[in-house]
C-alpha cells in the first residue's frame, strides 16, 4: 500500500468523451428534425401543385361590337361572319 501509485487525473478525457457523445447525438436528432421539416414543406408544395386548378365561374364573354360610325346615334353592331366579310 505504501508504494501504490496515485490514481492519475484523467477527468479531462472523461469530460471530452461525454461532451462528444452528447454533441453527436444532439446533431443527429437535429438532423432528423430538420430533414423532417424540409420534407413537410416539400410535401405541402407538391400537394398544392398536384391539386386540380379550382373551377372558376364563367364570366359572360364580352361581345365584340363593330365600332359605331362617327356622328351616328345608332349603337354599334355585334361582329358577325357576314359583317367581317363586308369589311375591306
Amino acid at each position: 500500500m505504501f508504494f501504490q501509485e496515485p490514481t492519475p487525473d484523467t477527468s479531462g478525457y472523461m469530460i471530452a468523451g461525454y461532451a462528444i457523445t452528447f454533441l453527436v447525438m444532439a446533431l443527429y436528432v437535429a438532423s432528423i428534425y430538420l430533414r423532417s421539416r424540409n420534407l413537410n414543406k416539400d410535401m405541402s408544395i407538391l400537394r398544392e401543385m398536384d391539386e386540380p386548378a379550382p373551377v372558376q365561374a364563367k364570366a359572360p364573354s364580352p361581345v365584340k361590337k363593330m365600332p359605331a360610325k362617327p356622328g351616328s346615334n345608332k349603337p354599334a353592331k355585334p361582329v358577325t361572319k357576314r359583317s367581317r366579310k363586308k369589311q375591306p
Partner: protein
C-alpha cells in the same frame, strides 16, 4: 406528416430520462484506481457499441426479408437501422480513442479490434454512397440489401475480434485476455451502471430508429408525389 403517435412521444421522453439517469449513474460509479476518471467512458462505449452491432445485424435481417418479399418497407427499415447504428458506432470509436490515449498512451493503434471496427464504420459509410448513386428505387433497394447483407458479416467479426485474435483490447465481459492492456474487474456499483447504460442505449436506439422510420416513410411519400406531379 402524420402526428407523432402517443407511444413514440412517451418513448422520446423515456429515452431522454434514461440517458440522464445513465449519465448520472456512470459519473457516480466508483473510480477505477489505475485509469482514473476516464474509465467512466466505458459505460457509454459499450452501450453504443452493443446497440450499433445489433443494429447492423438487424439491417442484414431486413435485407433478407426485402430480397424475399420485394417490399420497399423493409428497405426503409434497413436504411433506418444502418443510419442510427452508424451514428452509435461513431460514438463508440471516438470514445474508445479517448480512453486509449491515457490507457495505451496513443489515440489509435492498428489492433485487430480497432481495425475491424474502423472497417465496419467505413463499410456502412460506403453503403450510403452506393445508395446515393442509384436513382431507381427498386434497384437502389436491391443493391442496398445485398450490400447490407454482406456488410452485416463485419458486425460479428468486430465483436469476436477480441476473442479470436491476439489483441491489446480488454475483454471486460466474459473473457480473460493475457495480452489485454487496460482491463479491470467491475464492482457491484459499476455493474449496475453498466447494465443500466446498456438498457438506456437500447431504449435510445429504439426511439431514434422509430423516428428514422417515420422520416423514411415521409421521404417515400414525397418521392411518389414528385413523380406524380412531374408526369
Amino acid at each position: 406528416m402524420q402526428a407523432k403517435p402517443l407511444t413514440l412521444r412517451v418513448l422520446d421522453i423515456v429515452a431522454i430520462l434514461a440517458l440522464g439517469i445513465a449519465t448520472y449513474m456512470a459519473l457516480n460509479a466508483p473510480t477505477e484506481r489505475v485509469m482514473g476518471e476516464v474509465q467512466k467512458v466505458f459505460y457509454f462505449h459499450i452501450g453504443t457499441a452493443w446497440t450499433a452491432l445489433i443494429g447492423f445485424i438487424l439491417a442484414a435481417v431486413f435485407s433478407v426479408v426485402y430480397l424475399v418479399t420485394k417490399d420497399l418497407k423493409w428497405d426503409r427499415l434497413q436504411l433506418a437501422s444502418i443510419e442510427v447504428s452508424l451514428v452509435f458506432f461513431l460514438i463508440t470509436i471516438v470514445l474508445g480513442s479517448i480512453w486509449a490515449r491515457p490507457a495505451w498512451n496513443t489515440w489509435w493503434t492498428w489492433d485487430p479490434r480497432l481495425t475491424t471496427a474502423a472497417v465496419t464504420e467505413l463499410i456502412y459509410i460506403a453503403y450510403f454512397m452506393l445508395r446515393q448513386g442509384i436513382d431507381d428505387p427498386d434497384r437502389r433497394a436491391r443493391f442496398g440489401a445485398v450490400y447490407a447483407l454482406i456488410g452485416g458479416l463485419s458486425a460479428p467479426i468486430t465483436f469476436f475480434a477480441i476473442r479470436l485474435f491476439r489483441t491489446i483490447h480488454p475483454v471486460v465481459i466474459g473473457g480473460t485476455n493475457p495480452d489485454a492492456d487496460g482491463g479491470f474487474s467491475m464492482t457491484a456499483d459499476m455493474r449496475t451502471a453498466f447494465f443500466f447504460a446498456l438498457f438506456a442505449f437500447t431504449i435510445i436506439f429504439i426511439d431514434l430508429f422509430w423516428n428514422r422510420i417515420r422520416l423514411g416513410d415521409l421521404q417515400d411519400k414525397v418521392e411518389q408525389l414528385k413523380l406524380r406531379v412531374t408526369n
